[in-house]
């Protein structure tokens, strides 16, 4: 093998391993090398690497094999803004998977001749605009109208952001390692959501991260991240307010809430039911009522600390959301189209889906697709 290729592959392998915080020993064991000296020699360009060994390493590092084969210097990956970044090494892996998904999505779009990143046209605003909550509120209103979220935004926000605004969305099962993140790169804007969170939490996180996407580059990182001393940063508070306004449109919330008021009171059950209608948490719903002046802030605090309320929606919190699909259907449909028209191989499709090729039929069934159907039949448009 050409020593130049060997050296550049080795260098990229070392960088990929280190960026994930993995040790030589861990990786060598996973690949099946007799000892980690083999990996040291590969990374130093002293030992020829076999293709199948590179395939295994690329999988461990969540990289396309082409990344190692292609010429060129190592390009820094776009930074991911985590809502709460865990110190666990697993977070590095989630971040890498997220970025790989974004790269794959862009590749699929290129293969099909579409470019959704051009659809991303955020409303222009400046740092100086963010002084009061009313600006954030107006901004959310404007996005609500611009994107046509309707009366129940949570029902359609994922699809609209993905299909009409070019925001790539990925759901990863991350346990307690993090609740979400966002990034903007050559591939356009993208949001990562923790699939293990409850649906209302995910909806809120998506809307929260959407704020970061549309204000990308406006705030400095130190303005965004929470401080252990000062608590939640102002930008994070704005992001929460933005999310609440986006998911809970003023007119619909007020109309629905007023109907439920009897003698100046609303039952806890009605609050829970209203929150469920909008697919947000009871906390978010009550705080939205406070911001609309329908309930006093002290009352919201009191109610949220009342065990009787928690008891009412505890059952809601415990069930039925574990089977969140990792990908939205547009991504799967587009990748499937690439496979069915010979633009990508089955193995590549499986890689896009983060599954083994043996699992392709099962995954396609879940998304209502069938690789034995003829997708090339055409109709004549008039």
């Amino acid at each position: 093998m050409n020593k130049g290729i060997r050296g550049s592959v080795g260098e990229k392998l070392k960088k990929a391993r280190e960026s994930l915080g993995l040790t030589l020993k861990e990786v060598a064991t996973e690949v099946g090398f007799a000892n980690y000296q083999t990996l040291i020699n590969i990374e130093a360009g002293k030992r020829e690497i076999k293709v199948w060994e590179l395939v295994k390493l690329a999988r461990i590092y969540y990289r396309d094999i082409d990344y190692f084969l292609e010429d060129g210097r190592i390009v820094e990956a776009p930074s991911v803004l985590w809502r709460r970044r865990s110190s666990s090494l697993k977070t590095n892996i989630y971040e890498r998977r997220f970025l790989k998904y974004c790269e794959n999505y862009r590749q699929i779009e290129e293969l099909l001749g579409t470019n959704t990143s051009k659809k991303f046209k955020p409303i222009q605003c400046k740092r100086e605009d963010f002084v009061t909550f009313s600006f954030v509120d107006r901004l959310a209103h404007n996005y609500h109208d611009m994107l046509g979220f309707g009366s129940r935004p949570a029902c359609c926000i994922y699809r609209i952001l993905d299909e009409s605004f070019g925001v790539k969305i990925l759901f990863l099962s991350m346990g307690k390692e993090g609740s979400g993140g966002s990034t903007v790169g050559d591939f356009g804007p993208a949001i990562l959501i923790n699939a293990d969170d409850a649906p209302w939490r995910r909806n809120f996180d998506l809307a929260h991260e959407f704020f970061h996407i549309v204000t990308w580059g406006i705030f400095r990182p130190e303005e965004i991240f929470d401080s252990p001393k000062k608590g939640k940063s102002k930008v994070e508070v704005w992001a929460d307010a933005f999310a609440a306004t986006l998911l809970l449109p003023q007119k619909e919330v007020l109309e629905g809430f007023k109907e439920r008021i009897k003698n100046g009171k609303v039952s806890y059950f009605d609050c829970v039911e209203s929150a469920r209608e909008f697919e947000v948490s009871v906390d978010a719903f009550l705080w939205r009522l406070a911001s609309l002046g329908m309930v006093k802030r002290e009352e919201v605090e009191r109610v949220l600390n009342d065990p009787a309320l928690k008891k009412l929606y505890w059952q809601e919190k415990s069930g039925g959301w574990k089977d969140t699909p990792k990908f939205l259907s547009r991504y799967v449909n587009m990748a499937f189209k690439c496979m069915q028209t010979g633009k990508v191989s089955r193995g590549q499709f499986a890689d896009y889906m983060e599954i083994d090729r043996q699992e392709i039929p099962q995954l396609l069934t879940e998304y209502g697709l069938d690789e034995n159907a003829d997708y090339e039949i055409e109709l004549t448009a008039s």
Binding site: V55, Q348, R357
Partner: protein, 175 residues
């Protein structure tokens, strides 16, 4: 007596196992498999009841029932560079390796039902050395109702489409 010198794609190995035809296929052909497929892609198949069943190709390789063939990293890269980044088929490493091997060893026939791999072979002008899964099974005397993806009819359709691409100068980089 062995009928064919076959190079098998990962999907073919998996589906031959799933359909219970692997042993006959192995008995009647001289089977070759690329290292990537052999060592990284084919560890199990899923049976009709959704259960995972192990495939131990390495033991068959050690028993000399299967011949392992490899491509180097440089060969892999050179082959990939021949395809247009957008209009050419995007292959996974196992298929790329198989095509490198196929170009190097003219006596082999490559059995695959992967649309992109068949297209790539046609574009490289070695499409006449690709054979459908249905044809291989028929040559072994194994007749069974197969899925559309395995059929000779679909295979021919893909070859025809790829030939058209080749004529129109699509899919390959102009060197």
């Amino acid at each position: 007596m062995k009928l064919n010198l076959l190079l098998l794609d990962a999907d073919v190995v998996i589906d031959a196992h799933r359909l219970g035809m692997w042993d006959k296929l192995l008995a009647q052909n001289k089977v070759h498999i690329g290292s990537v497929v052999l060592r990284t892609e084919v560890e199990y198949y899923i049976d009709n009841k959704g259960r995972r069943r192990n495939i131990n190709l390495m033991s068959q390789h050690r028993a000399k029932k299967i011949t392992e063939l490899s491509a180097t990293l440089a060969e892999q890269r050179i082959l990939k560079e021949r395809f247009d980044a957008v209009l050419g088929p995007k292959l996974d490493p196992g298929e790329t390796e198989s095509l490198v091997i196929l170009e190097r060893m003219p006596e082999l026939m490559f059995c695959t039902f992967d649309y992109a791999a068949i297209t790539a072979a046609v574009l490289l002008d070695i499409g006449n050395r690709v054979i459908s899964f249905e044809t291989v099974l028929k040559k072994c005397g194994l007749s069974r109702r197969l899925q559309r993806k395995h059929s000779e009819e679909r295979f021919k359709h893909i070859v025809k489409t790829a030939q058209l691409m080749r004529v129109m100068g699509q899919g390959l980089n102009i060197l």
